[in-house]
Symmetry: C2
Subunit: 329 residues, 2 copies
């Protein structure tokens, strides 16, 4: 797949474009010669950070807007050839304390975006950022795309609905859409201010700060972590492949226990420590146990597989925060 | 299971209580000696009809309210021992022309109800009316509960989310909830004014009016139809069984082709005719082909199985509309 040919000169919209994955995607698309428009609501604590695009700010357009705003979306989607739809509320615990906001962002706003495309840009191709969270606690490992969806929290439910709006609009209206079910993603530009958007950013910050990382439970839970550049590749491949239309794909990689992960992280940082603590009740109730993905479908269909080893990815990430930490701490 | 003992003197709330299934459930609960509160929004064309409870109006309480109203629900759920949660937008085609309203009714209002229970009545037991629509076009027949959920329209997506909010609130907060995935339900008190809430009511009306029923496609599509009294039984059994908490159950019965169904209906009515016509495009795009349920799980867990034959059920239904048709036409 010639990604340069696929994206050079193309008009591309990224929702959540100032966030972690969105901004990394923007960097890559700028390299590829795309005309990039970043839409972000800049809701506090959601991950949007203008520093994420500081080095490409003259090569992209930025529009601060909330994708819940129907009129704004009606305008912004016009003439775009690709939409990478990454805007979302991603905190599981926040979705339980405020289910309405999670519903607005992860369901209503997805309908707004899709309705805007139906009315004003039905030839666009959309890639939706879904999540392994919609599977809930796995019935078996590794989890493939035919695993039942039984989410354990409101965020998982609403992301499941958000994904299916895309598939239905693909099937009913022919608005080409693909959903990528992301597992844990890490790398430069991720939010490390607090621990509500996932554990890995928080662990990295704590290790760099020489603090004691708290591992819930016995630390044997398995996870698979994708480096953000690999995830960006998957978005580009899904956008460029017509055989991805209407499909859902797991991303993933090899599994590692959280304890092994923390050992590796502490070694790379040369600082930090860890301790095992019991699960806090509000976390335990929505915990999913071990998880890792079967990603053979995306490999067979799009030729994607992760390229960056965990050690390599963590080293790059730690180096980024050593250099730019003050913009994220 | 002694249903009389389970419900006598108990406080019971039915959302969508003036609608088809809700009002039939109300009749049964009044017989069983329950204290019944019916909440209904009376949104036009949704199925609410005060005549549905004309013969029990002095034995039930009626509160016209929309379950989207958070403050109202906060008040109405208090002290209830059972909630039969049947309020919903059920038109597939309406969900595609107005996805926002479907989202408000089938998602936001379910969160409102569950949040009201979490805050003000966490010991209640809730039975949610889900639908076979969430399976989409079957991968295999009969469809059991481990069949993947891949809805074909916005209504199916939002009902899927609505069901899962209940399961998550059961699992996370211990608010006991069961979801019944209904297949086509028919019987007295169903809406027959228009064809947007399902085909069977419309077919009955047309046969009684001596009109020509239009069957889409070749008429060989299979469906399973439950008589409403059987469905009411399932709601009561699910409410009374603790082993139903957190579970989803298919209802169902034997399959019949739509053409055979129409033949039987015309025979029973002694009037009407039918013709095969091509699918209208907006229907074809969300059609699911043949469907019938595997209901062995609910039979094994709750001892439920349908008791009323299709012929018997249709005869009772036709007799009802011959007598009361003017209140429904």
């Amino acid at each position: 797949m010639d990604l340069d040919k696929a994206f050079r000169g193309k008009k591309v919209l990224i929702t959540g474009g100032l966030g972690f994955i969105g901004s990394n995607l923007a960097h890559r698309l700028v390299e590829l010669g795309a005309k990039v428009l970043l839409v972000d609501s800049m809701i506090p604590h959601h991950g949007g950070n203008l520093f994420n695009i500081a080095d490409i700010k003259n090569k992209v357009a930025v529009n601060i807007a909330d994708i819940r705003d129907e009129n704004g979306m009606d305008y912004l989607v016009r003439d775009q050839q690709f939409i990478f739809n990454l805007a979302g509320q991603v905190s599981h615990t926040d979705s339980m304390t405020d289910p309405y906001t999670d519903l607005e962002i992860n369901c209503r706003s997805q309908i707004s975006l899709l309705e805007a495309c139906r009315k004003h840009n039905p030839t666009v191709k959309i890639i939706f950022a879904s999540t392994r969270q919609i599977y809930g606690a796995p019935d078996y490992l590794p989890v493939n795309e035919t695993h039942l969806l039984h989410p354990t929290d409101v965020n998982g439910i609403n992301k499941m609905a958000g994904e299916w709006y895309h598939i239905v609009y693909n099937n009913v209206y022919g608005i080409r859409a693909t959903s990528l079910r992301l597992t844990n993603t890490y790398g430069p530009r991720m939010l490390v201010k607090h621990n509500r958007l996932g554990f890995i950013g928080w662990f990295i910050r704590q290790a760099l700060d020489g603090e004691e990382i708290q591992l819930f439970g016995d630390g044997t839970q398995l996870r698979d972590l994708n480096y953000v550049d690999d995830v960006v590749d998957a978005f580009l491949l899904a956008a460029a492949h017509e055989n991805a239309n209407g499909e859902v794909f797991n991303l993933g990689t090899e599994a590692i226990s959280l304890m092994e992960l923390v050992h590796l992280l502490i070694e790379i940082c040369g600082s930090g420590s860890y301790t095992l603590v019991p699960f806090p009740p509000e976390r335990k109730r929505i915990d999913i146990g071990s998880y890792y993905s079967d990603y053979t479908k995306v490999e067979a269909s799009l030729g994607w597989r992760p390229q960056i080893s965990l050690r390599d990815g963590l080293e790059r990430t730690v180096a980024y925060y050593r250099k730019h930490g003050e913009r994220y701490w």
